[in-house]
Symmetry: C2
Subunit: 608 residues, 2 copies
């Protein structure tokens, strides 16, 4: 039975219905965004499609983050905004999806074509008759863009937009003028599947690249595999895991690749994050005689926190759509078919490398075993959580101390990690968490009795930027865990710019645990976590560990306390720059002994 | 004593200090924004300038709205964001300032010049080495843009950016790479004032235009003056008021001009808002034989709610920088000097028009006088507030039912109104209110014992988009009135798109009155207003009327209740389209009798 028959569709349907049916075919069941003057006719159509729902976000930027988080798990997300005000509010989120290779379809409800042609002055315009300005701006952060025209080909355009967003894992912009929403198109086209994952590689080119790669694989003496973001984006996780198991090469993940592969593979060695990688990681990656980077997104990258690049001269980079090796580029080699073909030709018997047991000790454990009455510090917090995570968890971390902390610990198998490491827009993780909640719920079979857990770690500074999206979670009875790391502001910046006496990094102290009630939740749990004992008690609680209601824990941390990796980095810099510690910073970060916590303890008490 | 002497400045100061001193000279004392990786060195300098403060907003979009609201009262506002993530989060607010002619300087902290030249991949980039992309996007919504270069002329560039933002009342973009922050410049230039308000008009051109205008003024029989937004933006309020008093012509304001001139001038006739103006306003403006539009920003404008244009063929439009009359344009005639010269040449004795008493009955009063136990409706709410407003009030309305409601009532003298009528970005008013609070506080003399009142009207839908900025108000002990019109969602859209049975326009119901406590306020007042008696009691309370603490009142309104102007408009459309009311809409809007409130009464009770 064809799709149109199953769904009892008329031979002619509106282009809006066509768009929404296409999304439904790809299991995009939740659409994000806000209503506005020029997208309402479109949203009216959405309400007609059984199985689709309109999330109804609190604001557009949050909605884009949600579509991004959703897409990272389902391969495609969709946000609908209104012309001008709506789409520009969303554009930072779209730029993030562009930077980080996430397939987001951005549908924009536009003024009628006639108004555009006549340059009428409408609401939500700049008042200068320029109707193309927002489309032009979107082009800079979109892989492709199109505005629906009144032609027979318009359903082709819709198809192309969706295909490209999915295939290229980049944002695509689709403008729909209000007068075109009900344009009739042939529904039969829905019976033909979209062209996904059928990318074929150039065989000659591929053979040449695979020969080179296999030769290195067979002969290298100290290899390393690095798994980067595009493994997940290009749906190549299984192939990558098989490759790792067959070669037995030590494997590392980049911060953007963390949470994509099984970290319980015996040769898993932790996170490679350039200059702040732990010494045992750097030793393997930096001194390898062959590094194969699978799903490479970036080769060089800098933040004030760390520098990331591959030192090895013998580095082969498998990007989403090409291979780079020693200055040569092999274009149009797509990751998934390439990996399949490498696997089919790989003969493990020819590999000379034999793994040692050394590489399998990747994670940082606290030096001391502090007692329950101890006030919290980052290094202990992450260690405790490492035992609480379980298979199937989705773990989302905000850029800041959380994203560094999470890299210290090993995930159970079949967990997924989400973090916006490159674009790094503060507040992203909250919206992304909403999207992840919808995605996991839709992907779970109806028979499963327990919900998959979606776990968010977010600092107080970032929380303040986007926290109204908790309301949308409550509205839809979603049940994430929100772990709010309260360190009284933007701690990572406060630390790295080592200023102790400025209010620049402070944020207003909120009663964070009241938000569920304020946003109208009735079934929820909140906890304030001050001591290590509080944390252990919470994580040991069976009820707490079941994702059956929305939960928030406010974890009180000293304002200058950051994960070890950042401290190490800062100490390196300090040594280099001959900064005198006393002038710049509290003593707390130089000394690991409990005594050094005294000043911070007072601070924590004040805010408790 | 020169500026540098008074401030004990060294002969050489950093370009960052130069920028901040220039802002200080213009009484821009509060800078809005958030810290980020690439703007922190700049913010460090800001903290060194006595008399300047860093607001520390909750997010960038809100910060831009705040800078916009601040600028509408002080002529110039400034926001500082960080490269990429920060500036793109702000860009919708910048576009609003561009559309509505507001002088906002957007300073963006950028990566070091060297990284840009080498196309290094940094945090907050798109990962493609394109460092100009955000600057390029900003150009579409900025009057001028510049990035600080290492040359002797860079202080000239800073001056030019500030001058243009101020003079043109448009956003200007100024990029400051982190490595340029401490670039040394000569401080003596600060002793030379910036070139503002010295625009001279072309005398011949001006004479020709004034001759034409005077001829019409002297001979017209049914004239009308329309005051639009640029009267306020170009600091021409006094000249305009004098012109109105001298001519005795009937005067109207556009929605964007509302709150700029004294509405107690005897010939004031209310708001001209095109197709939804009240009949007595349309009668005068549409059938005038001479309409002079002062400070014109728009001549034609449409929203789904109304169409705005001047019907009169004898319409002279005084824009900010030119005059248009019957298809001719007189370029480079600037509003303020033009108005001054019209006034100097105007001989009121030659005017043949004599005002009748008819025009002075502009405001809508409710048909009935409902009793105290009546549940609220929009028409009564605005009427009650009209008696509560007082001289000096700043009245901010969100686009939505509030902005229509406010046009029904007459402001006391010396009040100012703020509304983003053209750009119409939901949530704008909350950020704008923050900016207005700072601006009024800074403009008030220290000796004044009572604070000037800043009064915000915002719907619940818009509130949810930007409400975290209340936290910034609390942090700074600002004391606005926040009147939250709770009509359970986006009522204006719900009404105009006349759908009753969709959740599209609903928002999650929040416990709005809890936010002050959640955001850490200690000195505040909240009220829930359900009946007309509640409203009257509140507005009659003397304590309540003093702006000595932050206050919020949640005003409960039926979800399909909108101001009269919108109902009229809808009825017009309905008649035109032959829509059968029963199919589309609750009965409530067709019937003014109290009985029609019954279904809504139940609804209100549910949420109370």
């Amino acid at each position: 039975m064809s799709y149109t028959e199953r769904n009892s569709l008329s031979p002619e349907i509106t282009i809006a219905d066509y768009l929404f049916h296409r999304l439904k075919q790809l299991h995009v069941e939740t659409i994000f965004g806000l209503p506005g003057e020029f997208n309402m006719p479109l949203l009216d159509r959405l309400y007609n499609i059984p199985g689709l729902k309109w999330a109804g976000n609190a604001n557009e930027l949050n909605a884009t983050y949600a579509a991004d988080g959703y897409a990272r798990l389902k391969g495609l997300g969709c946000i609908i905004t209104t012309f001008g005000v709506g789409e520009l509010s969303a554009i930072n989120g779209i730029a993030g999806a562009f930077a980080e290779h996430v397939g987001v379809l951005h549908v924009v409800g536009m003024p009628p074509t006639s108004a555009q042609t006549k340059q009428l002055l409408l609401h939500h315009t700049l008042g200068n008759g320029d109707y193309r300005v927002f489309h032009r701006m979107a082009n800079d952060v979109s892989f492709y863009s199109r505005i629906i025209n009144d032609t027979d080909l318009c359903s082709n355009e819709v198809d192309k937009c969706i295909e490209l967003a999915y295939l290229k894992q980049k944002p695509v912009y689709l403008g729909v003028p209000v007068n075109q929403v009900n344009l009739k198109v042939n529904s039969a086209k829905l019976n033909k599947e979209l062209r996904f994952r059928v990318l074929k590689n150039n065989l000659d080119m591929e053979n040449e690249a695979i020969n080179l790669i296999l030769k290195k694989i067979y002969t290298c003496e100290s290899p390393a595999i690095v798994v980067d973001a595009c493994v997940n984006r290009q749906d190549t996780v299984k192939e990558t895991e098989q490759f790792i198991r067959l070669t037995n090469f030590p494997v590392f993940v980049t911060p953007m690749g963390k949470g994509s592969i099984d970290e319980n593979i015996p040769t898993f060695g932790g996170v490679f994050s350039g200059s702040i990688s732990s010494p045992n990681v750097r030793e393997v990656v930096d001194f390898a005689d062959f590094v194969i980077v699978i799903g490479s997104l970036l080769t060089e990258f800098s933040t004030s926190a760390f520098h990331f690049f591959y030192k090895s001269k013998n580095c082969v980079l498998l990007f989403d759509d090409c291979v780079r090796f020693k200055g040569s580029i092999y274009p149009d080699l797509f990751l998934k078919p390439l990996m399949k073909n490498i696997l089919s030709r790989l003969d493990p018997g020819k590999i000379s490398f034999r793994p040692t047991s050394d590489c399998n000790n990747p994670m940082i454990v606290p030096k001391s075993k502090p007692s329950d009455d101890q006030l919290l510090r980052q290094e202990w917090v992450w260690h405790e959580f490492s035992h609480w995570f379980q298979e199937g968890d989705i773990i989302i971390t905000e850029l800041g101390t959380s994203s560094f902390g999470i890299n210290q610990i090993r995930f159970p198998s079949h967990t997924k990690g989400i973090s916006q490491a490159l674009w790094g827009s503060s507040g992203y993780s909250m919206g992304s968490c909403l999207g992840a909640c919808f995605a996991t719920l839709e992907s779970q079979s109806a028979s499963t009795s327990t919900r998959q857990r979606v776990i968010l770690f977010i600092g107080d500074g970032a929380f303040q930027i986007t926290m109204q999206e908790i309301s949308t979670m409550i509205r839809w009875n979603l049940t994430p865990y929100i772990f709010l790391l309260n360190n009284q502001g933007y701690s990572i910046d406060r630390f790295l710019h080592h200023r102790k006496n400025t209010t620049l990094y402070d944020v207003q102290q909120w009663n964070y645990l009241s938000f569920f009630k304020v946003f109208g939740a009735t079934d929820y749990e909140t906890r304030k976590i001050v001591t290590l004992g509080d944390l252990r008690q919470m994580l040991g609680n069976e009820d707490f560990s079941r994702a059956d209601r929305i939960r928030m824990a406010e974890i009180m941390l000293p304002s200058m306390d950051v994960p070890k990796a950042i401290v190490d980095k800062w100490l390196q810099e300090k040594e280099k720059d001959h900064i005198i510690p006393g002038e710049q910073l509290d003593n707390t970060i130089h000394d690991d002994s409990p005594a050094s916590l005294e000043p911070e303890r007072k601070k924590s008490k004040r805010v408790v």
